[in-house]
């Protein structure tokens, strides 16, 4: 690791000017969300790296670190597969929001209410 006089890790996470807006009633919930999303992103990053490795192994049967660093999708098809993965992955971790939107569109009964209904059926 070469010596870098710039504390780029600390600098990268600096807060911008102005009081940070929090949107949830409890800021702690929002902090957990922020950490969760960062972990989610890093999983995406790791997955993309594995994808790269697999493709390189498949293509060449030989692997060097440099090849991983310089890999870019070699066709529109591969590019789309990778973007498709991101799209699916995001939908997966955003499931709860999708469901609350669906519920907004189609308000539903609670299971207690349904149990009461069924009791009469």
């Amino acid at each position: 690791m070469e010596d870098n006089p710039i504390d780029y890790i600390g600098i990268a996470g600096n807060k911008p000017k102005g009081k940070r807006p929090y949107f949830f009633d409890d800021p702690a919930v929002e902090r957990v969300l922020n950490i969760t999303m960062a972990i989610g992103m890093e999983l995406a990053v790791a997955r993309e790296r594995v994808d790269t490795l697999e493709r390189l192994l498949e293509d060449k049967g030989v692997l060097t670190r440099e090849e991983i660093e310089n890999y870019t999708p070699s066709s529109k098809g591969i590019e789309q597969e990778r973007q498709q993965w991101h799209s699916e992955y995001i939908s997966r971790i955003m499931r709860v929001i999708q469901q609350s939107m669906e519920e907004l569109e189609n308000p539903d009964k609670t299971l207690q209410e349904i149990a009461d209904d069924i009791d009469k059926m």
């Binding site: 949107f23 949830f24 992103m41 993309e48 590019e79 973007q83 498709q84 991101h86 939107m101 907004l104």
Partner: protein, 395 residues
């Protein structure tokens, strides 16, 4: 079933000699963020639904009337769970974007400075001036929550935030501005060429040019013109100048100038342009800047200003309110106030004739558009590359 409207991968961004290098994981991080931005544009549609289905009905029930103003509406929406979730995720995504860009640029900060210095050395087309400071409205806030904004140098010759901006625009807009993020500059220069073929500007000024991404398409469309880009952010000017040299431009000067005190002679420019600049100024400064534009523009000259969509009477209160989200939560506060100014009146006040005023709609010219990006995309308020352009000829 394939997902629709996949954004282009970061590999498609145009590289040049001073562009920040990225390793595999840094590009993957940007790919994730571009996709997440796109996804959140869809999640944002739930806000309108929540407003219509539960926030507005509840307010009407409790108060026996509808919302009277945006503040009242905002207060009620702020309590809505969907709005809270979307807002928290969008803010989080923007912060992750800044962190991702700053970590990759600052880790190569010394190298970026060296590359930029090498291209800038001995060039008369980069004019820095120690006596010019960033105006108070820029010091009050870090626009787009980029810590340090356009002007801060964490070490001498620091250009990291400019390089961060260069790569990051592609991620925030999911590539909709094209591979050089120059879709706005391309749109306006094409409009001028198509609509006024007789107009042959010899001297063009771009105010608030930043890293020059929208200045260069103008210089390309009018290669015989002398183009001057001004800004107060030294990192932007140094990086923008080196970027222009690296991309083969020799007709653009980058100069450290404050827009409300321009050192240029009266009647000295044929065309004065601003692109997404005025909403990052201030309530008094915008008049001073427009005064300077009128003074420096030659009779027969043109001034055009690409801005956020204008708020119209036909727009619902909800839409006006949601369009203000970025102003407060993406730190572009003047955006929320600029809507109170009628651009036509602004221009008349500094000397333009009302009958010479014009207003057009513009959309980014995107060289990455392969026809797969258009279908059924919800409008991402404040992010879509669809703009209002206003301006006038000086008679």
């Amino acid at each position: 079933m394939a997902a629709k409207n996949l954004p282009p991968t970061y590999d498609n961004i145009a590289q040049h000699e001073v562009f920040p290098e990225t390793n595999h994981d840094e590009r993957a991080r940007y790919n994730f963020l571009a996709n997440l931005n796109k996804h959140l544009a869809h999640v944002s549609q739930g806000n309108a639904l929540a407003f219509k289905q539960r926030v507005q009905p509840k307010f009407k029930e409790e108060h026996g009337r509808d919302f009277e103003n945006k503040d009242e509406l905002g207060e009620a929406m702020a309590k809505d769970q969907h709005y809270q979730t979307w807002s928290a995720l969008r803010r989080c995504t923007m912060e992750m974007r800044q962190q991702a860009g700053r970590s990759l640029t600052y880790r190569q900060g010394a190298e970026l400075k060296q590359k930029v210095d090498k291209l800038n050395q001995g060039k008369s087309t980069l004019i820095l001036n120690d006596d010019v400071s960033p105006p108070p409205y820029l010091l009050a806030v870090d626009n787009h929550i980029m810590p340090g904004s356009y002007h801060t140098e964490l070490f001498e010759g620091d250009v990291c935030n400019a390089a961060n901006y260069d790569g990051g625009l592609f991620v925030t807009t999911a590539g909709l501005l094209g591979k050089y993020s120059d879709g706005g500059g391309k749109a306006i220069s094409q409009w001028v060429r198509d609509n006024h073929p007789e107009f042959k500007p010899k001297r063009i000024l771009d105010i608030g040019c930043g890293m020059g991404h929208n200045t260069l398409p103008i210089a390309k469309m009018f290669p015989d013109a002398e183009v001057v880009g001004i800004d107060t952010g030294r990192p932007m000017l140094r990086y923008g100048h080196a970027r222009a040299i690296a991309l083969g431009y020799d007709n653009v000067t980058f100069q450290q100038v404050e827009a409300s005190k321009m050192p240029f002679e009266a009647d000295s420019f044929d065309w004065i342009q601003t692109t997404m600049f005025l909403h990052e100024t201030g309530g008094k400064s915008i008049y001073n800047i427009m005064n300077e534009i009128f003074r420096c523009l030659k009779p027969g000259g043109l001034t055009m200003h690409i801005e956020q969509p204008q708020y119209t009477d036909e727009m619902t209160m909800y839409e006006k309110w949601i369009r203000d989200w970025d102003a407060y939560n993406n730190s572009e506060p003047y955006w929320s106030k600029m809507h109170d100014i009628d651009p036509k009146e602004l221009m008349i006040k500094v000397g333009f004739n009302g009958e010479d005023y014009m207003q057009i709609g513009a959309q980014a010219i995107n060289d990455l558009d392969d026809g797969t990006q258009k279908a059924n995309e919800p409008e991402d308020h404040g992010r879509s590359p669809i703009w209002n352009v206003f301006g006038a000829w000086k008679k």
